[in-house]
């Protein structure tokens, strides 16, 4: 008969007390698993730097974090716009009537003969919303290249809109799911927020696959159509969707807004790969190496500011997410410690009634170390049993909450969503914890006076 079995029998002997102790440990670990996985979800939902497809965001002067939140996460409201002319400074000579390349085009090289070295500058316009009282989604005006070249998007149905079809749109997976949108249907953006003026409808040409990025929670309309919406252009105030004038509306939707009336909220830039010599087998500098120089150049001037989203995301994580994670981790550790103390109290309280049993085992030849080990094993079994049950319950909880989390954050969450850092140390951690809390009662077992305990009434 192994010492583990003896310890297990001792647990069975006090079924109620043991069960309650294990349940308290299970609740603690369940809470820890849930909290840490939730922390990971928060972390993942912000850690999208590598999945963006661009490495610089240029927007109006102001807070760097503001620019990140409104242009990357579609969260806060943009304060100012930047002129279309400024956007064109990132474009090559072919985009300019005078045949002169924009002053920053050398960092982007949209027409570089080497396709792999090419960068890209994509304008986005914000300001409108879509949704209902329960949930609202950002409407983003952008050209189709946003999907074909920058994000290289995949569509769960339909395809990207054509640049010549002004009143068309694609929608993110969560938007489509929440508002029951389908390809061929319409969306009508609301100005400034839910309940604002309803603009002209845009026909949906495609629904994006779920990516776990803010794109899931946005609707993207053709930027040319976006410009034609009243109040979206400098000096352009005519109403496009005036009832009773369909011909005029049709005509207007084929006429792009003049460039001098255009503004954009931000420019998403993937910098070019510069330098290198293919003939000599020298690779060009990657876009990440080029980005800092462009950021520096843009920020020297007063028109706009440039940020590197990955860096700003790290700042955001440092300010917001990491302290939150730290608090969650601390709470989780405290919960497990409290549960561990529960085991200590439970076993220690049982020691007075078990002193006689321990003395009997000693009289049968068990050494002091042996009875000490039996009590430690009991503590470990309680912690492990409760801990594993809690681990399972925690994941069950996450699995049950998965659909809600997925719809809220766009991150796919299921039963097998792990918090790897914690879960890898769960078993050894519980053994260490159980050994620590089991030590005191184990010491009491070690010190049991066999002679006295045997002669005492059992």
């Amino acid at each position: 008969m192994s010492l583990w079995k003896i310890a297990w029998r001792s647990i069975q002997q006090r079924t109620l007390a043991s069960s309650l102790t294990a349940v308290s440990m299970a609740l603690g670990v369940m809470l820890v698993v849930a909290v840490l996985v939730a922390g990971n979800i928060v972390h993942d939902s912000f850690s999208i730097g590598n999945r963006l497809g661009y490495n610089i965001v240029v927007g109006a002067k102001g807070g760097r974090l503001d620019l990140l939140l409104n242009s990357v996460y579609y969260l806060s409201r943009p304060i100012e716009n930047i002129p279309w002319e400024y956007y064109k400074e990132f474009l090559p000579a072919s985009a300019h009537k005078d045949g002169k390349a924009g002053k920053y085009s050398g960092y982007v090289l949209e027409d570089d003969p080497n396709e792999k070295a090419r960068g890209l500058a994509i304008p986005i316009c914000l300001g409108d919303f879509l949704g209902d009282e329960k949930e609202s989604f950002r409407v983003v005006g952008t050209p189709p290249e946003m999907f074909t070249k920058l994000m290289k998007s995949k569509f769960s149905s339909g395809e990207v809109f054509k640049s010549s079809d002004f009143a068309t749109a694609v929608v993110g997976a969560e938007v489509a799911s929440h508002l029951h949108l389908k390809v061929g249907g319409d969306i009508a953006p609301m100005h400034g927020g839910i309940g604002g003026e309803v603009h002209m409808p845009f026909k949906i040409t495609g629904i994006l696959e779920r990516t776990g990025t803010p794109s899931d929670r946005a609707a993207f309309v053709n930027i040319e159509g976006f410009f034609l919406i009243p109040d979206h252009a400098r000096g352009h105030v005519e109403e496009v969707h005036v009832p009773g004038q369909p011909e005029e509306k049709e005509e207007m939707l084929k006429t792009p807004l003049p460039e001098d009336q255009r503004e954009v909220t931000a420019i998403l830039i993937l910098t070019a790969s510069l330098g290198g010599d293919p003939a000599k087998g020298i690779d060009p500098n990657p876009p990440e190496a080029v980005a800092p120089e462009l950021v520096k150049t843009v920020n020297k001037e007063n028109v706009a500011q440039a940020i590197q989203p990955v860096q700003e995301i790290n700042v955001l994580m440092g300010y917001l997410v990491q302290p939150l994670e730290l608090i969650m981790d601390a709470l989780a550790v405290m919960v497990v410690i409290v549960a561990g103390i529960g085991i200590l109290v439970s076993i220690y309280n049982s020691m007075s009634e078990r002193r006689h049993e321990i003395a009997v085992m000693r009289a049968l030849g068990a050494r002091r170390n042996t009875v000490m080990l039996i009590v430690l094993f009991e503590s470990i079994l309680l912690a492990m049993g409760g801990g594993l049950a809690g681990w399972f319950a925690g994941h069950l909880l996450i699995g049950l909450a998965g659909p809600f989390v997925t719809s809220s954050t766009g991150i796919a969450v299921g039963f097998l969503q792990f918090a790897p850092g914690f879960e890898l140390i769960l078993i050894p951690g519980l053994i260490v914890l159980a050994s620590l809390v089991g030590f005191l009662p184990a010491l009491a077992a070690y010190r049991t006076d066999v002679g006295k305990a045997l002669t005492a009434t059992p």
């Binding site: 049993e357 030849g365 068990a366 050494r367 066999v450 045997l454 059992p458």
Partner: protein
């Protein structure tokens, strides 16, 4: 097999000072011999068994089992010797309530040098007439059955000496003889020496050798009782 020489033991009294309990110049039990030890309550019988079992140390003297002076051994070695060479039947049986009859016997083997032998444990329980009670817990068994499990447990490790501390004190008169007969027969079969403590005259009468602790214990612990000890 068992030799005690000049064994002395005293306990500290709550108010200070010491209370002599045992002072035994000599006591021997031969291999396979069956001895009954009698004496009134408080004369040190249980203390003597605890000293022989190595549970407590004597203050002086030697307690030799198989030529090993258990009194001089460190505690861990005494534990091992107790597990390997001694069996112990308690007055209150001391079966562990969470364990079945079979597991209680196996528990006796768990702390010894030999491997845990389920076949022998089963055989011993069959020998004491409990083949139908292997999986029953003590609470599901009668007092007599519990004591029989205790006997099987004490013999589990093929001990050389069985110490029985008033094994029939909690058993009715009808079962007393059965228990004593069982202990004596199994000890004979297993060639185990027996030192049995009792108060009961009927039990004493079954043994060829009766040692009165009050006569062999020189410790001053109340006036000695003259004549044959009586049940008390």
């Amino acid at each position: 097999m068992l030799q005690l020489k000049n064994v002395k033991k005293s306990f500290e009294e709550p108010g200070g000072g010491t209370l002599p309990i045992l002072d035994i110049p000599q006591l021997e039990v031969a291999v396979g011999e069956q001895v009954v030890l009698v004496g009134r309550s408080g004369c040190g019988k249980t203390t003597l068994l605890h000293i022989i079992a190595g549970i407590i140390r004597p203050d002086e003297g030697s307690v030799t089992i198989d030529n090993i002076d258990i009194a001089r051994l460190p505690e861990a070695a005494r534990d091992r010797l107790r597990a390997d060479k001694l069996g112990y039947v308690f007055q209150t049986f001391n079966l562990l309530p969470g364990f079945s009859a079979l597991e209680n016997v196996l528990l006796g083997m768990a702390f010894a040098s030999r491997h845990v032998d389920t076949a022998r444990a089963t055989h011993l329980l069959e020998r004491v007439g409990l083949s139908h009670r292997l999986t029953h817990r003590p609470s599901m068994m009668s007092v007599g059955e519990q004591q029989r499990v205790a006997v099987a447990r004490a013999l589990a490790n093929k001990p050389e000496l069985l110490l029985a501390d008033e094994p029939t004190a909690n058993v009715d008169a009808r079962h007393q003889k059965q228990i004593i007969d069982l202990i004596r027969e199994t000890c004979r079969e297993e060639k185990v020496a027996l030192l049995l403590v009792t108060h009961t005259a009927d039990v004493m009468a079954q043994f060829d050798r009766v040692e009165n602790l009050e006569q062999i214990n020189r410790a001053v612990n109340g006036p000695p009782v003259s004549g044959s000890p009586s049940a008390s």
